[in-house]
């Protein structure tokens, strides 16, 4: 029953800390309220310069179409390509559209009419997406029939019908919040006791390794429960996004991820001598785990050697499973594979955390 006293102590210490309780509350709120607005792959507000060398009715119609588009900000007409390019160099414009002198004439004669689109690709996504939007407008302007053809091909988007980027991002944000809260706090825990000297006092008591480590883990699982609840509520209140699948499964996944990260944090803490060392090592692993997990980029487009790492990356299983449940509404059978993988990795790390805590040396 020593566990009870040890857990009490951990909670008291977290509560006494002037900073941690506020962080635990503020952290999920800030992440959930700010990041979904910012993390969007949609490209908007592209500044366009137009060099109209013909100034015919037809070319002016094209200019008006671009002006009307919500994707573009019409930055003005320039007399020459050089002066427009200068604006790009100065960062005042993103794309230049050059309409040749015989654009309207060729069009009337039924010849190929061409325009030039020059995009600043320093920001790759903005450049390529902007150029694609722009060429769409140009094409549909000269060949209205194209639009009719395109409408003949129907694309059916499943599950996330409006391609709402927020819906895609929110499960990823759950993962990030859980990772930071349940990963970094335990990392600082044992090494903190080492620095304060209290670990020696614990080591000469008959307390077992299991209860000591378990007493360290349980508070972080509680924090994980709290954090995931706040995150789910915020997703619902702020964005009106709720889980398509069972909430119970979401909690199960969150707890499994918390098991992994809190154990991992304690392992790092056990092997470190200073907080500085511990936090640096943890940071390295967290960045690798996050970027290799498919949080932001599809894992299938990784090179195959990098894809192999996803088999041991718990974050990959978590993000796969939570998107299945949250967006698609999948049931347990759809994510059984990921649940068992997470459980396996979590238990392995938990055992290691106990193993690496040395009462004797």
């Amino acid at each position: 029953m020593t566990l009870k006293y040890l857990i009490q102590k951990e909670f008291l210490q977290i509560r006494r800390n002037a900073f941690l309780p506020r962080l635990i509350i503020a952290f999920p709120i800030v992440i959930m309220c700010v990041i979904p607005w910012v993390m969007s792959m949609e490209v908007k507000n592209i500044k366009v310069d137009i060099v109209d060398n013909e100034r015919s009715t037809l070319s002016q119609q094209l200019v008006h179409r671009i002006e009307a588009s919500t994707y573009f900000i019409f930055n003005g007409q320039k007399p020459t390509y050089q002066s427009a390019l200068k604006e790009i160099e100065e960062g005042k414009a993103d794309i230049v559209l050059v309409i040749p002198p015989d654009y309207g004439k060729n069009e009337m004669l039924g010849k190929d009419s061409q325009v030039l689109i020059a995009a600043n690709a320093v920001n790759g996504t903005k450049g390529s997406m902007g150029a694609a939007y722009l060429s769409q407008i140009v094409t549909s302007h000269v060949q209205p029939s194209m639009e009719a053809i395109r409408s003949g091909v129907s694309t059916l988007l499943l599950y996330n019908k409006h391609q709402n980027y927020k819906l895609f991002m929110i499960p990823a944000l759950f993962a990030i919040v859980m990772m930071l809260m349940t990963g970094f706090l335990p990392t600082l825990n044992i090494v903190g006791e080492k620095e304060a000297g209290t670990i020696e006092q614990i080591n000469v008591t008959p307390v077992s390794k299991w209860s000591f480590i378990l007493a360290k883990l349980i508070p972080y699982w509680m924090i994980a429960l709290f954090v995931i609840t706040v995150s789910l509520l915020l997703a619902w209140i702020v964005y009106g996004i709720t889980s398509a699948g069972s909430i119970g499964l979401i909690y199960l996944l969150a707890m499994l991820l918390a098991l992994f990260f809190s154990s991992f944090g304690l392992i790092v803490s056990n092997y470190s001598n200073t907080m500085q060392q511990a936090i640096f090592v943890m940071w390295f692993f967290v960045v690798c785990i996050m970027l290799l997990s498919g949080l932001f980029t599809p894992t299938r487009s990784m090179p195959s050697w990098a894809y192999l790492t996803t088999y041991i990356n718990p974050m990959h299983y978590f993000i796969d499973a939570i998107r299945t449940v949250f967006i698609r509404g999948g049931g347990f059978s759809d994510i059984a594979h990921q649940v068992f993988a997470l459980l396996g990795i979590g238990l392995f790390m938990g055992g290691w955390a106990v193993q690496s805590y040395k009462k004797n040396n």
Partner: protein, 486 residues
Amino acid sequence: MNAIEVNNISKSYGKVKALDGVSFSVGKGEVFGLIGPDGAGKTSMYRILCTLLLPDSGTATVDGFDTVTQMNEIRRRVGYMPGRFSLYQDLTVQENLEFFATLFGTTIEEGYDSIKAIYSQIERFRDRKAGALSGGMKQKLALSCALVHQPSVLFLDEPTTGVDPVSRKELWEMLLMLKERDITIVASTPYLDEVRCCERVAFLHRGKIQGIDTPERILHQFADIFNPPGLSHAKETEVKEENVIEVSHLVKAFGNFHAVDDISFNVKRGEIFGFLGANGAGKTTAMHMFTGLNQPTSGTGRVAGYDIRTEYEQIKRHIGYMSQKFSLYEDLTVAENIRLFAGIYGMKDAEISRKTDELLERMQFTEHKNTLVASLPLGWKQKLAFSVSIFHEPSVVFLDEPTGGVDPATRRQFWELIYEAAGRGITVFVTTHYMDEAEYCDRISIMVDGKISAIGTPDELKKQFHQPDMDHVFTYLARQATRKSD
């Protein structure tokens, strides 16, 4: 002109008055002691004189410069050696010295003459990390660092905490040598023999100067604080013939280095056993083996009836331990700390709360039951840590330098607690650097270079080595050490 003039300095932290109208002056080339119990305001005074802290009211000058308006001039002229943390543990001896020299815009070569006498003793180890030095050598290095820019005033804030008597004597010999070079020294210390090395001392108590005079007069005038009457150890319980600790031919080796080298001794139930030795003699390593934190390389030993090689987890059930580093949780209250450790030893809730009240009552500490440990004065923390370590009534309690940096009156109270515990039949195994405490023990051993070179009652040892007191016995034995290197 006086080297230091302090006029009516006051400083408060919130409601706490750390310094209250303090005035004194120190002549050039004087060795001046600033003494007083923990929390008297000594460190605040040092920080004001070193321009690290601004006083609320009053003025102070160092070397003729004002501590508020001319701080840059002062910083160039003073050397400050705080009690702890003044060295970079990860840098080598030489790198530390170079760093401090560079800070003051000088080089080791330029300042070499002024530190030669001290630095030459540790120069052999210039490539060793400061963290790997023994306590005495760290002090020498810290002193070298404080002197490398040839300061005219030197401030030493309890420089010898946790340092063994021999190293302490060496440090003071060096300080008195500096005096010949007209360096003014202001030092504070809890050791009476060091107080006596000063020419004049100021006694600071509760933020006020109570008296400034020669050391002898001050110590006499405030004898109840500095020189409490010695404890008479009434033998309430007889020492039983049963051995609680039995050790034979114990060795702990780290590579080729034998930290503990073939020690054998017994400690009987109810005894107070003093385990003495210079810094780096192997005391802490030996203690770690007895408490099950570490296992011996060879040899055998039993503590409380259990084998230290195999049954160390059982040993932990039957012992108490108080480590050198402060060992309670600072962010928990007094009652919460007691509850945690009692719970770990398997005591029941009802029993814990009953015994907690009893203990606090006995220590007259009931009103601080819900005070955070961090806000208690050091002496109280130590007493509390000791009470916690024997709360579960162990058969032996191990105390590793429990009274480091504590003033004499508080140390005496601490020993009253030890006697009380021994009276209840708890065997006490204690290390200390205070030789007056050594006299309080029933039996002591002195460790030199990993071996026990003397064991017996204090009186027996004094007779055996023909020395007047324990201080001389210790110095005599510790000076024979050849292992000065660590």
